[in-house]
Amino acid sequence: MGPAALPEIAIHATMDISDTAQISRVRREHHMVNAPLHIITLVKWVPDAQLERRYNAEGRIDRSEGVLSELDEYPLEAALQIKEAAPDREIRVTALTMGPAGASTAAKKALQIGADDAYQLTDDDLIGADIWATSVALKAAVETVTGAAEFDSGEPEYLVLTGMASEEGESGALPAQLAERLGAHVVTYATGLDFEAERLVVTRSGGTESQRVAVTMPAVVSVTDQVNDPRYPNFKAIMAAKKKPLTRFTLADVGLQREHVEPKVRVVTTQARPPRTAGEIITDEGDAGVKIVEFLAKERLL
C-alpha cells in the first residue's frame, strides 16, 4: 500500500494549508441550514363553548370568563414537535395572546404545555376589535416579539403558527390578514406538517383537491385539529412553567395608538335565537321508521 498512500497524504497536506477557508465555508453552510427559528404561536382566550356564550349590551361577545381555545392547542403542539425534532437547532417557541386581563390564563396554559416564553397584548383600546384591527395589532405584536428575542446562533427566521379559526369568531381570516401585513407567506388549514431544513411542507385540502404545499420562512401557517394530538401538561411541566417569562404589553409598547386599531366593521344588532326545544320523542315499537316518514311527510320535507 506504500505508493498508493502518498497521494492521500498530499491531499491532506493541501487541506491543511487552506483549512481556515474550508472550515469557514463549512460553518457558513451549517449556519444556513441551522439558522435559529423563532416560532410564534398565537393563542386565544375564548368563552368556553361547553357553556352558554352570549353577547353583551354593547354588541360584543361577553369575555368575562374563558379558556385557552381548544383549537389553539394544535399549533402549540405543532411548534413543540418541530422544536423537539431538531435538537441541534436553536428553536424558541413563544406563545402570543391578545385579549383582556383574563387572557393571561391562556398564556400561562401555553407555558405549561411547553412554550418557552409568552406575551400578552392587553389594551382597552382593543375592546371591540374586528378582524382588521386584530391583524393590525397582532402584526405589531409579532414584530415586537421577534425584534426583542435574542438568539445565540445567528439571525433567526420566524414562523407564526395559528389554529384553524378562533372558536367564537370562526372566520379563519386572521392568518391571511396577518401574513399580508407582515409580508410573510401564508398557508392555511394544514392537516400535516413536515419541517425541512429551510422550508415547511404542508398537507392541506384545497377545495376539491388534496395538496402538498412548500412554504419558506417567514410564514404564517394555520393548522386544523387533524394535524396532531396535543399533549397535556404534566405536574413537572406545570411547575416549570412558573419560572418561564410572561410579558404583558400595551398598544403603546408595540408602537400603536388608538386610531391605528379603530375597527372597520361594527355590529349593529345582536339577537339571541330562541333555544331549540325538544319535540316529540317516541320509543321504537317496531314501527318507528314508518313514523319518521309520516312526520317528514306531514312537515312537507319529502
Binding site: 363553548a49 356564550r53 352570549r54 353577547y55 374586528d130 378582524i131 382588521w132 384553524m164 370562526e170 372566520s171 379563519g172 381570516a173 386572521l174 391571511a176 401574513a179 399580508e180 407567506h185 401564508v186 398557508v187 392537516t191 411542507v201 392541506r204 384545497g206 377545495g207 376539491t208 383537491e209 388534496s210 404545499v213 412554504v215 387533524q226 375597527p263 372597520k264 366593521v265 355590529v267 349593529v268 344588532t269 345582536t270 339577537q271 339571541a272 335565537r273 331549540r276 326545544t277 319535540g279 320523542i281 317516541i282 320509543t283 321504537d284 314501527d287 318507528a288 321508521g289 314508518v290 313514523k291 319518521i292 316518514v293 312526520f295 317528514l296 311527510a297 312537515e299 320535507l301 319529502l302
Partner: protein, 321 residues
C-alpha cells in the same frame, strides 16, 4: 344600485349551487361582475347568466393558495368600481378576500347569511345561538368596498333558480396577472374523490351517522340516496376511520344548515351541535334515551338505527312506488 364583484376561486364546467347563490345575492344589489382565479379553457359560457356584465380573468389559471389571486382581486375591484365584494366562506376564498381587505384597507365580514341593499350583513354567530347585523363603520360614506364571505344554503334553491337564469355571454377582461414565483409552491395536487351525493355544506337534506353505526354506514348511504341527501358524520366516526374526515359535521368540520338533518347514532355533544343546530328540522335516532341530541330534535326515536333506517327506506320506496 351599485356594482358588485363576485369572487370564484375556481370555476368548473357548471356553476355549483353555492356559486349560483352568490350570484343571486349579488344580483339583488346591482350589476354583477365576476373575478375567476382558477379555470380550464374558456369559462365564459358557464357565466352567461342574466345580470352578469363583466368577467375578470388572470392570464393563466391561478389555483389557490396562489398569492397572485389577491392581485387579480385588487385589479378587478379597480376595474369594476364595485362597492361590495362577495365570495364564499371556504378556506381558499377567505384567504384571498382577507388579504384583499388589508390591501384595500377595508372591513371584512365572514360567514354571512344575507346582505341588504344598504349593505347591512346578517349572520349567524356563536354556533347559531345568535343572529347579528353588522356594517362598515363608514357605511354612510364608504371609501372602499365592503368585503363579505357567505355560507351556502341561505337562499331557497327554487328562488335561486328564478334569480339566476341563462343570459348573454358577459364581457371578458383578461388582466395582466401572472402566478408568483417562490415562497409558496404547490408540489403535489391530488383530486379528491367526488361523491355523486350533494356536497355536505350545500345539501338541503343531510343524513349523519356516529358511533351508533358501529362502523357500518351502508344503511345511512342508502337513506341518503333515497332522499337525495348529503352524507355526514360525527367526529367519533371520522376519527375511527369509518368515513372520510371531510364528512365531519361540527365545530371543527363542516357547518351545515339544511332544511332537514337526520342524526343517527350520534350523542349530540356541544361540538357536534355547533355544526348543525341551525338546521330547519332535526330528526334523531339513538339507542340511548338520554342522548343530548334529543334535547334539540323535532322528532326523536329511541331505537336501533339498524332497524329504524331500513324501515324508513322501505316506507319511502313504498310511497314513491
Amino acid at each position: 344600485m351599485s356594482n358588485v364583484l363576485v369572487f370564484f376561486d375556481e370555476l368548473g364546467e357548471a356553476l355549483t349551487p353555492a356559486q349560483k347563490e352568490l350570484i343571486a345575492q349579488a344580483a339583488a344589489l346591482g350589476e354583477v361582475h365576476i373575478a375567476v382565479a382558477a379555470y380550464d379553457g374558456d369559462p365564459t359560457p358557464v357565466l352567461a347568466v342574466n345580470g352578469v356584465q363583466e368577467v375578470y380573468l388572470p392570464e393563466v389559471s391561478l389555483p389557490a393558495p396562489e398569492v397572485a389571486i389577491v392581485d387579480l382581486l385588487e385589479t378587478s375591484v379597480a376595474e369594476s368600481g364595485a362597492l361590495v365584494v362577495l365570495g364564499s366562506s371556504t378556506a381558499d376564498a377567505t384567504d384571498a378576500l382577507a388579504r384583499l381587505a388589508v390591501r384595500l384597507d377595508t372591513g371584512l365580514i365572514c360567514g354571512a347569511g344575507s346582505i341588504s341593499a344598504d349593505l347591512v350583513v346578517t349572520k349567524s354567530e356563536l354556533a347559531g345561538s345568535y343572529t347579528t347585523t353588522s356594517q362598515l363603520v363608514s357605511a354612510a360614506t364608504p371609501a372602499q368596498p365592503l368585503v363579505v364571505t357567505f355560507k351556502p344554503n341561505n337562499i331557497d334553491p327554487q328562488r335561486v333558480a328564478t334569480l339566476v337564469t341563462d343570459g348573454e355571454q358577459p364581457e371578458v377582461n383578461v388582466l395582466p396577472v401572472r402566478p408568483s414565483v417562490g415562497g409558496v409552491q404547490i408540489e403535489e395536487r391530488t383530486a379528491m374523490e367526488v361523491s355523486a351525493r350533494p356536497a355536505l355544506a350545500e345539501a338541503r337534506i343531510v343524513v349523519a351517522g356516529g358511533r351508533g353505526t358501529d362502523g357500518d354506514f351502508t344503511p345511512l348511504e342508502e337513506l341518503a340516496d333515497e332522499l337525495g341527501a348529503g352524507l355526514g358524520a360525527s367526529r367519533a366516526a371520522t376519527d375511527a376511520g369509518w368515513i372520510e374526515h371531510a364528512a365531519q359535521v361540527g365545530q371543527t368540520g363542516v357547518t351545515v344548515s339544511p332544511q332537514l338533518y337526520i342524526s343517527a347514532g350520534i350523542s349530540g355533544a356541544v361540538h357536534q351541535r355547533a355544526g348543525m343546530q341551525t338546521a330547519g328540522t332535526i330528526v334523531a335516532i339513538n339507542k340511548d334515551e338520554d342522548a343530548q341530541v334529543f334535547e334539540i330534535a323535532d322528532f326523536g326515536v329511541v331505537g336501533d338505527l339498524h332497524e329504524v333506517i331500513p324501515q324508513m327506506i322501505e316506507e319511502l320506496r313504498r310511497r314513491k312506488g
